[in-house]
Every structure is written in C-alpha cells, then in structure tokens.
C-alpha cells in the first residue's frame, strides 16, 4: 500500500513569505500552506500493513515472544457486558505474567468515535473489543490492513493444556465465525444464543407455555392480549436488528441455513425467495395484531423494562439480556428463552433449532506497538480461568469449552444451556452481512421497522431488500465477501 497520491507543495513557497508585500498577498500564503496540511488527515501512520504477526521467537510459556516491559493498551466497549471482566480478571492476569508491563485500560461506549481517528493517524491501541451499536466496520479495517492475523494465537498451545491448540479448546463454529477474507482476524468470544425471552414465573402463573408453531404463537398472543399484556414487542428506535434476527432465523428454519448463506453472498433473488417471504409474512402478522405501535419510538432498555414490569410478553433478544436487565429485574421475574416457533409443518429445521453463535469481536491491531502482547492477552482470555472470570463478571458464557464447570448458572443461562442441548446439531447460522455490508444492514433495520409496524407488506419488504442487495452487489466500492457454509 502506498501513501496517498498527492503532492505536498508549499514548503518552498513558505520561505518566500517575507518577500510578499501587502495583506492580500499574505492571505494567498494560506493556500499553499494548507497544501502542506492536507497531508495530515490521510497522511499519518507508517505502513506495516501486511497484517502479519511478529516473528515467532517465543518459548512454551511465552509463545509470542512478548517483551516483558512493553506497555499494552486495551480498549473495551463498556456496554451490556460491563468492563470489570477486563479490569478485574484479564488485565490483572496479564500483569501477573508480565509485572513490568504497563497495562492501559480504556473503556468507551462509542468505539468508532473514539478509535477511528486513532486508526487514521496511526496511534492505535493493541487490543480492541469492537462492539456496541457504534462499532467500527471490521471488514473495512481488515481491507485496510489494520487487523492482525490471529492464526498464531489459534495455533498456539492452550494455557490450560499445552498439548492442545487454542483453536481446539473452543466450541464448534467459534473459530470460523472470526474469519474474514479466508483468515481468522477476529476473536468472537462470547457464546450467544438468540430467541424469544419471557418471564418463566409469569408464564407458570397463567399456565401459558412457550409456543412451538406460529399458530400456537398467535393463540398464546391472544391469551396475553386478553390478560392486558402487549404480547410481543421490540424497540424500533435503536434495536430493530433484534427483530430482523428473528425474521432471518425463521427463514433459515423454513429453508435451511443455505438461505442465510445466500443472503450473505448477495445471491440473486434470495430476498424474494419463498422462505424469506413466508417468514416476513408470518412476522408481519404478529406485528400487525400483537405489537404496540408506540414501541417504535422506544429504546431497547425501555421495552425491556416494560417486560420486567410484566407489561410485555415475549421479547426477541440474545443471551446478554438477563445480565443487561439485572438491576431492573424484580426478584419474582425469572428469564427463560425459547426458540422461534416453526412457521410451516414442512420446515427444514425443527422447532428446537436455535441460532447460537460466537459474538462480541475482539481483535489485535496489526499496527499496534505490542502485537505479541495483544495475542498473549487474547490467549489469557481464552484460558479456562480467563473465561470463567468473564462469565462471573459479565454473566455471559464464553466460547471456551467447559469453562462454566463449577459455576452456578443464572436462570436465563440455564435455559440457554437446556436449549443448546435440545438443539443438538440444529444450529441456525449467524448473519455475516452485519460485518460485511453495513449499508445493507442499515437498510434492513429500516425495512424491518416498516414491516413490523405495518407501513409495508411482506412482499414490499422482500422487494426493497432485494433492491438494496442488488445495489450492494453492483457497487464496486464495496469489497465483496463470500462464505461457503
């Protein structure tokens, strides 16, 4: 990669300044002077852009050859997971291993706004938790050579069992989820299951059961409605993606995971295919009959609070929900998760299938000052001790196999574990378009709101999404990605 293609005029001109006479001419200096400046924003940073890890000079205890006094900067997204898992568990563990190293902790809720200028200027942190609604575009970062290839990390020996590679200590799919352009650039650390969440105690009290089909779903919604609840709801203001997950999960259940693979590959006509259309129709009906239109103007925490107050029946979300709502959940409220109901009797995947995926991206900056330290930090996160500490502090399960042994799980996590067992191999795949095609994702949010809050039909939804997908495919400025499965 090269420096931006622009000339840097003006330095010679500046020396002529003293010869200029008069105010008008003085003002003209500003122009070439600014030419020098225009190199600033796009001119920073040296180019060590191959995305390669440092040469492996390490020992068994220190496989990446970390310099023991090299400082390490860790930036953590402080959202639903908090940041105490980093400050109380992982960072102390790193410091214990390298007592001379200075670990700098930065917590932010606005990852992109905090870090994008730093990436542009070349002053990058070593480890980044790239999460939240203001995360940076992973695929853009990778294309621009900002991400370190994590292959050495996944091939290194695990801290707990040196005979195993780190890769083999993770649950299936966790390694694949972090692949961009054929290489593992991302660590997706948190094991997340997605489904419909409800209050187990409220359901037991009313002798309601979680619905297995959309017909049961509608029957249950009618019962809830007559009990004075809003049967189903999500927050349109900032969390419409919770709902499009459900639409895409249903589409996958109808037509198999290939539907989602096609969606991510921008396959021709996939949005207008039968599974997507049927799913959109089924969900649009729920939206029309059983949702509260005012939810479109509310934020996710506001709708979640209404559920805690017993005003909302079912809520689509992932397994971070319980922890996020910890402070607001009354003691009588017990979270439980159920898979999305089956749409047709001929669905390719059974009701028990859940979308479970590795989520929450962590990466090491390729241009960071301590890349080896960054890899080691991630290796510590992937140790059983690190993962256990994370679960204790954040209330979420990690992708590290068997790291919950000996922990008492919360009701919500228990129901997730049960759903995981029931699902077996029937796992709905994740959507990569969220990482790959941000504009398409943005459109999907808009269209989902329009569908669920009754401003357009399922046919229009499919039509509009197909149009945007085609436009994305035709846009040469967007780097295309591909997945086989």
């Amino acid at each position: 990669m090269s420096e931006p293609s622009e000339s840097v005029p003006g330095i010679a001109d500046l020396s002529r300044r003293n010869m200029l006479r008069g105010i008008g001419l003085t003002a003209m200096i500003a122009v070439p002077g600014a030419g020098v400046l225009s190199a600033c924003a796009t001119g920073g940073g040296s180019d060590n852009s191959s995305g390669q890890a440092p040469a492996n000079t390490g020992s068994a205890a220190n496989p990446f050859g970390v310099k023991e006094d090299a400082p390490l900067e860790v930036v953590i997204f402080k959202g639903g997971l908090g940041d105490s898992y980093a400050t109380d568990v992982h960072e102390p563990a790193y410091k214990k291993k390298f007592p001379k190293a200075d670990v700098k902790h930065v917590a932010t809720q606005k990852i992109a706004q905090t870090l994008q200028p730093r990436f542009a200027s070349g002053d990058v942190p070593d480890v980044v938790a790239n999460s939240g609604s203001d995360l940076m575009d992973n695929s853009a970062l990778q294309t621009e050579g900002q991400l370190l290839d994590l292959t050495p990390l996944f091939d290194a020996a695990s801290i707990d069992d040196p005979s195993k590679k780190v890769k083999d200590t993770l649950v299936p799919g966790a390694y694949d989820a972090g692949i961009l352009a054929g290489k593992p650039f991302l660590l997706k650390y948190v094991y997340t299951a997605y489904g419909l969440w409800y209050d187990k105690n409220l359901f037991a009290k009313n002798s309601w059961t979680a619905p297995k089909t959309f017909d049961e779903f509608k029957a249950l919604c009618d019962k809830m409605k007559s009990a004075g609840l809003v049967p189903y709801g999500y927050a349109g203001s900032n969390a419409s993606y919770y709902q499009y997950w459900m639409i895409l999960i249903s589409a996958a259940k109808i037509g198999g995971n290939q539907v989602l693979v096609d969606v991510d590959n921008l396959a021709d006509g996939v949005w207008k295919s039968d599974p997507v259309l049927k799913s959109a129709q089924a969900w649009a009906e729920i939206g029309k009959l059983y949702m509260d239109k005012s939810h479109e103007g509310l934020k996710h925490t506001e709708v979640q609070l209404q559920q805690n107050q017993g005003k909302v029946g079912l809520y689509p979300s992932g397994s971070w929900l319980e922890n996020e709502q910890k402070k607001d959940t009354p003691s009588s409220f017990e979270y439980a998760m159920t898979p999305t109901p089956s749409v047709t009797a001929a669905d390719k995947m059974p009701f028990a299938a859940i979308r479970a995926a590795a989520g929450e991206v962590y990466f090491v900056s390729a241009k960071g000052k301590n890349t080896a330290g960054g890899l080691e930090y991630l290796r510590i996160m992937l140790s059983k001790e690190g993962a256990k500490g994370f679960t204790e502090k954040s209330g979420n399960i990690t992708v590290v196999k068997g790291a919950t042994e000996g922990l008492t799980l919360s009701p919500g996590n228990k129901s997730v574990a049960a759903a995981q067992v029931a699902a077996g191999d029937n796992v709905v795949t994740d959507n990569r378009l969220e990482d790959w095609y941000k504009e398409l994702e943005k459109e999907l949010r808009s269209q989902t709101n329009a569908l669920m809050f009754g401003r357009q039909s399922a046919e229009q939804f499919c039509e509009n999404m197909q149009k945007k997908a085609d436009a994305t495919k035709a846009d040469s400025s967007i780097t295309k990605q591909h997945r086989d499965k």
């Binding site: 200096i29 400046l37 853009a140 400025s477």
Partner: protein, 309 residues
C-alpha cells in the same frame, strides 16, 4: 517608522493568518480533496477517484430526502421562530405602553425575559433527551399523559410519517423542539434592537392615535429590519444543521424510514458507521455550498435601504 512599515504589519498579521489557515482554511481545502477520494477513514490509504462520489450523491435517494427536509426547515424554522420571537419581544418591550419617558413591556416582562432565555443555556443534547421524555409515545409521556386526562389516546409523536414525506408529524415534533430552543435567543436579540428605537417615535405615533397592531407593523418592524436580517441568516444556517436533535430524538437514526433525517446525520453515519469517509465528505462539500448559497441569497434578497435614526 516609514521604513519598517510592511515588515511590521506582516509581523502582526502573520500569527492570526497562519492560525486561520491551519485551523480553518486547511481543513476546508482538505475536505475538498477527501471528497474526491474513496478514503475509508480507518487507515492512511486514500485513492483519488475524481467526481465519483458526487455522481453517486446525485442518485442517492436518502441524500435528496435529507435535502428536502432542509428546504422545509429553511422555510419553517425562521418563519415560526422569528414570528414567535417578534411577538414576545414586542410584548416584553413595547406593548405595555409609554411609562416614565420610555416604552415598557407588559407586567412581569423582566422576569419573562430571563425565563425565555433558559432554553438557550441548556446543552442541545440535554434538550433532546428532555423532549424525548416529553414526547414519549406511550401514555407515560408528559404530553400524552396530559392529553390522557382529557381522554385523548397517546399520540406517537416521533414515529408517525404522515401527512407528507417532507413534512410529517415526526419531523414537525423535532422542529417544535428546535423552535423552542431558539426562540429565547431571538427574543433577547430583538429586545436589544427594540430598546434602541427612540421612544419619541413611539410617542408621536401613539399621540396620532396609532394602536398596538399598527405600532408594531409601521414602526417596530421597519426599524428592526437590520436585526431581523441577521436573525434570518442565523436561523437559515441553523436550518442546515439540526444534527443533535435529530440524532437524539428520531427513531432508528433519522427514521422512521428516513422521514426525519438531515444531511449532517447522514454525513455522520456514512463517516463513522459505514466508514465511507470520502463519500461523507462529498456530502459535507454539498452542504457547504448549500449553506453558502443560502447566506449569499439571504443577504441579497433582504437588502434594503437603511433607516437612520
């Protein structure tokens, strides 16, 4: 002294001119350059692509939607704000009639003057969050619970896209907050303008039997023209912004269905959410020309002969 005049002047001018060049002109020129690149903003690589970004802009529905909102804002924001501000300033300064050698406002005007200025003191983001609760769509919102007491169902202030795409309830709701926030400043501005109008003019008009209504249109308004013109340009430029309130208040960031979006919000999203900094900058350049055109036009159109007094 004659001999060293120019080095002396240049010596004094150099510092401010350089600072201005570095921090104002530099970024402007830089923006024009970045607008013609495909810079993603996450590294130092930027390829020059000429006018591709502008061509794309031309075919971008969302861009034109945002522009149409600015046009509506440009008409509605100054008209409503100036109308209310003039009315209130008149009440505060002149409407009380002549007392003790000068015109005075209605009873309690000094108190009102301070109260009207309060919104200006609050940070815009705080105003946005406040009004988000005031216009909350369910029955617990301030406005909706008041309406509830007289039996009106909750109104979804910020999510209704009727009646027109350019000017719908959601957008009008946000506009109302912009007006609320701006009025106080212009009341104070006009108050200052009115207090500099000589009392004799009012007195002689009043002696000739001029009512308050005519007093306002025949005396106050013409003599306030300069101030009004400045206010018009200020508000016009403000109409090209609107970022904070739309960002904080609108649903799904400029939604529903982009019915409330404005250019600065789109720029922000393109730059920080989609990492298309080059394209975002092209939008910024377009916005720059829109604002510039407006300012020039506004000053031209409203130019009038000054009345000396």
């Amino acid at each position: 002294m004659r001999q060293g005049k120019y080095p002396f002047i240049i010596g004094f001018l150099a510092a401010p001119v350089i600072i201005y060049a570095v921090f104002v002109i530099g970024p402007y020129l830089q923006a024009f350059y970045i607008a013609m690149t495909n810079w993603r903003g996450v590294s130092a690589n930027a390829t020059f692509i000429g006018f591709d970004n502008f061509e794309r802009l031309f075919h971008d529905d969302v861009f034109w939607k945002a522009v149409s909102h600015h046009v509506v804002l440009l008409l509605a924001l100054p008209l409503i704000t100036l109308g209310i501000a003039l009315f209130l300033a008149f009440l505060l300064n002149v409407a009380g009639g002549s007392r003790g050698g000068g015109m005075s406002g209605i009873w309690g005007s000094k108190f009102y003057r301070v109260v009207f200025f309060f919104p200006q003191v609050l940070a815009v983001a705080i105003v946005g969050v406040l009004f988000l609760q005031i216009y909350r769509p369910d029955g617990t919102g301030v406005v909706n619970s008041l309406l509830g007491t007289i039996g009106i169902d909750p109104i979804r202030w910020l999510t209704i896209t009727q009646p027109w795409p350019q000017f719908n309830l959601a957008f009008a709701t946000i506009l109302s907050v912009m007006v609320w926030q701006a009025v106080g400043f212009y009341v104070v501005l006009f108050s200052a303008g009115m207090s500099s109008i000589p009392a004799e003019i009012y007195e002689s008009a009043a002696l000739d039997g001029c009512g308050r209504f005519r007093l306002f249109f025949r005396i106050t308004l013409p003599l306030l023209w300069d101030t009004l013109q400045v206010a018009w340009v200020y508000l016009g430029i403000a109409a090209f912004d609107g970022f904070v309130l739309v960002q904080v208040m609108s649903t799904n960031e400029g939604g529903p269905d982009k019915a409330t979006t404005v250019l600065p919000l789109e720029i922000w999203q393109q730059a920080f959410y989609q990492s298309h900094v080059g394209y975002a900058t092209a939008m910024g350049v377009a916005l720059f020309f829109l604002t510039l055109t407006f300012a020039v036009l506004a000053l031209r159109v409203s130019r009038r002969e000054r009345i000396e007094f």
